[in-house]
Amino acid sequence: MSSLANRGADAQTRRGAEISARGFSWQHAERTTPAVSGLDLNIQAGQKVLLVGPSGAGKSTLLHALAGLLEVDESQQMRGELLIDGADAFARQRPVGLMQQDPETQVVQSRVADDVAFGAENLAVDPEVIRERIPEVLDAVGLGMLSFDHRTQELSGGQKQRLALAGILAMQPGLMLLDEPTANVDPEGIGPLRDAVLNAAQLSGATVLVVEHRLEVWAQHMDRIIVLEPGGGVAHDLSPQQLMEDQQLRAELASAGLWVPGYLPQIQQVTLQPGGTLLEAKDLVCARAEQAPRTRPVTLQVRAGTATVIRGENGAGKSTLALTVGGLLAPVAGQLDASEQLANGLGSSPFSWKAGALIGRIGSVFQEPEHQFVAQTVREELAFAPLRAKAIGGRELKYEPEQVEQLVQSLLVRLGLEHLADANPFTLSGGEKRRLSVGTVLAASPDVLILDEPTFGQDANTWRELAQLLVAQLEQDTAIIAVTHDEHLASVLQAEQIHLAALPSGDVAKPKGPVLDAPVGDSWLAKINPLAKLGAVATATLPLISTLDAVSALVIVVASVVLFPLAGLSPLKFLKRAWPLLLAGLFAAWGIALVGQDSGAVYAQLGLFSITEGSLQGGIATGLRAFALAIPCILLLATTNPSDLGGALSQQLKVPHRFVLGALAGMRLLGLMIEEFTTLTLARRARGVGNFGTLAERIGAKLGQSLALLVQAIRRAGRLATTMEAKGFGTAKRTWIRTATFTRTDAAVLIAGIVLGAAAVGAALWAGTYNLVWS
C-alpha cells in the first residue's frame, strides 16, 4: 500500500452506517424475474465488504437501492425491507456515496474544486465549510497537487475516479458504494485508486461496499467477501483467508466467471506454424493528425499464423500505432509495407486501399464494440462485411451472396450467438458484444487481425471464449496484432512482444475541435460578472438587428476592437478564434450582393443575378452587421467560463439550478463527444463504411454515424444522471462555493454596453443611414 493510506490520520473519525436487509426483493419494471430476491444481510458499521457474484446476481441493483436511486412507482416491485441505520434506504436520510465504472460520467463539473464541492453544495452545506474540506479530501485521494481551477477533462481515467471519490468524501457519507470502480481504469491507475478508497474509508469511518469481478485487487484489504446468487440472496459469506484456501469454493467462483486470485483460465495449447511475411514496418512513426503528438519509431514484422502484442505506458500511442498498421491512419514517417501475399494486386500501403478492399485484408477491432456496430440485427451485422469485401484487384466481390449466408451461419455457431441472431447488437451483454465485434471483422476473413485491448472488462468466462476464438484464428494462419496489458493473453497467443516507449514528457495530446471551457486568463474583463458582460454585449449588439446600415455596425466593430486589450486579446489570438466567423460574414455579404434588391449601376451580371450599386451596398452592410454581432461575443467568450455564467444565471437571475447545472454537466461532455465522433469515423471505415460512394450513400453513412453518436451520448447521460442524483442533485435548496457578486465596476460595464448600443443607433440616425428593417 502506498503512503497515501497514512495521510490525515488525525482527521476526526465518524461512525459508518449499518446496513440490514430483511427478505428484500426488487424487480425492475418490464422484467419478468426479480433482480434481487429474498435477500437477508447484515453489515456492521465501518465494515469493508467485497460484493461478488456472476453477472445477473443483482449486485448493481442492490447498490442502487442502497443509494436510494431506484424509482418506486405504483407497481408492486419491492418486497421486504432494506435499512440503513435502521431507517428505510429509500428515505435517503444520510448521504450515501456511489461510484460507477465509467470515469467520464463520475465527474460532473468542469473544474476540480467545483466537482469536489458539487455533492456538498447539493446537501446545502455552508460554503465556508465546503471550501475548508476541498483541500483535505483532495489530499486524501492523492490529488492534492491539482489547482482548484484545473480542467477535469484533462485528468486520466484513474484520476477522474479519485476526483469523484474526493467529492463523495466531501459529502461525509456514512456509506460508500463502489460499482466496479477499476473496470475502466488502466492498470497503472488501479493501485492508486484502490489505495485512495482504503484511505478514504479509514479517514471517514464509512462502511464500504465494493462490487468487482477482479478479486485480487480488493480481496486481501477487505473484512468480508459476500457472494450473491443469480436472482437470489447470499450464496457465501466468507473471509479473505477462506477465498485463498478453500479449493472447492475457488473452483465454484471461477466457473461463475470471477477472477479468483491466482487462478487463470486454461486454453488448449496448439503448435503454431509461422507462415510468410504479411506486413513490415520500418521506423514507422504514427500520429492521430498533423498537429498531434507522434509515437516513437517502430520496426516490426508480421507473419501469418503468429501473434504480436504491443505494450507500453499510457499515452505512448499504442492505439495510434494499431490504427496506422490497420490502414486507418496515414503513416507520418517511415515505412509500412504490405507484402505481395497480403496486398494481392493492390499497392503496398494499406492506407491507400479502399475500405472494401481493406476489410478483406486487415481487420481492426476497436476497444469499444458499440463503435463498430452498423446494422440492426446480429445476423445483418455479420453479413455486412462479407457482402462488401472486395477480392483480388479490389473490384470484384470476394463472396457470392449464398456463400455469405453459410459463412454467417457458421460464424453464429462459432461465436455462440446463434440464439441471438435476430437481436439488436446494442442489446447484447458485454461479453457477447465483444465476441460479435471480433466476429464482424472475422467475417471478411482478413489475413491480419488487429485488436485494441480485447480483454478489457471481460470476466473469466468471456475471456476464455474470446481467447479460444483467437487461438483458432492463429491456427488458420491469420496474423494477430493486439494492443493489450494482459500478460496471460500474450502467453496464450504465444505472442512476440514489442514495447512502445512513452513520448517525451510535456508532449501531451491537445483537444481537437472546439472547447467550451478553455481557461479564460486573468484579464480585466475576466474578473467582471458574467451577467454584466452578457447584458453589455446584448444591449450593444441587439439594437443593430433593427437596422441594416454600415454606420451603426462600424461603431460597434471599432469599439470592440479598441476593447481587445481589456480582454487580453492580441490581434493574432483574435484572428485565430474568429476567422470562421469573419469568413461566414463575407459569405453573407456575397449572398446579398448577388440576390439583393438591385439599383444604380450594374457591376456584373451572373446568370439570373446581377451585382449592382444597390445590392453591393446591401452586401457590405450585411457583412459589417455580421461582424458587429459576432466580434463583441468574442470578447465575452474569451473572458467567461460557462460554469461561472451558469452560476450567475442561477444565483442572480433565479434560473432553476436543476436546468442550469444539468446543461453544464452535458456541456462538459462536448470534447469527449467530438473525440468519439472522430473514433466512430475510423471504426466505421474498419467495417467498410466510409466517405465514398454516391452523395446519397455518403449522407446515409453520416446519418448512421450521427445516430451512433447519439446512442453513446444518451447512455452516458443516463449514467451521469445517476451520478448527479447520488450526489444529492435535484433538491430544492443548494449552496454555491463560487458566490456571484455584482459590484459597481460590473454595473459600469453593463452601462457602457447600453451607452454603446445607443451611440451606434445615434450615429446611424445622425448620418441618415438608419433604416428600420421592419418597415
Partner: protein, 206 residues
C-alpha cells in the same frame, strides 16, 4: 393515482434534464461535424443563397428530437435553446441573436406538441412539429431578425416556405426515425420514449 400519473408525465426528472442537455450538446457536435465535413454543400449554395434554407432543418432537429425522446413539456424549447447557446459559445457569426433564433425555433415545435397536450408522439405530429419549427425559423430570419432585408417580398415568402419544408423533412421525419432507431438499441430504457420502436409507423397512430 391519476394525479401521480399526471405528475410523472409532466415533471422533469434528473435523467430527463441530463439526457435533454446531452442531446443538445450532441447536436452541437453534429452541426460542427456536418459543417466541417461538407464544405461542398455550403459552396454549392453560395450560388443561390435562398436554397441554403433547404438545409436549415439540420439546425432545427434538436427541438423535435428532444421532445420525441424526453416527452415532457418544454423539451423542444429547452433542447433547441441550449443547442443555440452552445453554438453561440462556440462562436457564431450571428452573435447573440442565435439565441433568439433558438428560442423562436423551439417554440414552433413546442406549440405543436402542446396542442396535442403532450400525449401524441406519432409520425404526423413529428412532421407537423418539424414543419412549424421550420416556419418559425423562416419567419424569424426573414421578418424578426431580418437577416434578409435586401430580399424582395416574394423571395422572403419563398424563404419561409423552403425552411418549413426543410423542417418537415430533416427535423420532423429524421427525428422520428432517429427516435425509433435509438429505442431499438435500448438506449432510451430510462425514458418515456423507451418503447418508441414498437409504436406504429402509421400517420394517425395513437
Amino acid at each position: 393515482m391519476n394525479q401521480v400519473a399526471a405528475k410523472q408525465r409532466t415533471s422533469w426528472r434528473v435523467v430527463d434534464i441530463v439526457v435533454a442537455s446531452v442531446i443538445a450538446v450532441a447536436s452541437g457536435v453534429i452541426f460542427w461535424a456536418w459543417s466541417a465535413g461538407m464544405p461542398l454543400f455550403s459552396l454549392a449554395f453560395v450560388a443561390f443563397p435562398p436554397a441554403a434554407a433547404l438545409l436549415t432543418g439540420v439546425w432545427l432537429f434538436p427541438a423535435v428530437l428532444g421532445a420525441l425522446i424526453i416527452r415532457k413539456p418544454g423539451a423542444a424549447v429547452f433542447c433547441e435553446l441550449l443547442a443555440a447557446i452552445i453554438e453561440a459559445l462556440l462562436g457564431s457569426h450571428y452573435g447573440l441573436s442565435v439565441i433568439v433564433s433558438g428560442l423562436v425555433q423551439g417554440l414552433g415545435a413546442e406549440l405543436v406538441f402542446a396542442i396535442f397536450r403532450y400525449r401524441k408522439w406519432n409520425l404526423s405530429v413529428a412532421l407537423i412539429a418539424g414543419f412549424f419549427t421550420g416556419i418559425f425559423a423562416g419567419i424569424s430570419e426573414a421578418y424578426i431578425l431580418a437577416y434578409y432585408v435586401e430580399y424582395t417580398s416574394a423571395l422572403k415568402i419563398l424563404h419561409v416556405l423552403i425552411t418549413g419544408v426543410s423542417g418537415l423533412i430533416i427535423a420532423g421525419l429524421l427525428s422520428w426515425l432517429a427516435t425509433r432507431g435509438l429505442a431499438k438499441t435500448g438506449a432510451l430504457s430510462a425514458l418515456a420514449s423507451r418503447r418508441a420502436h414498437l409504436e406504429s409507423g402509421k400517420l394517425d397512430a395513437k
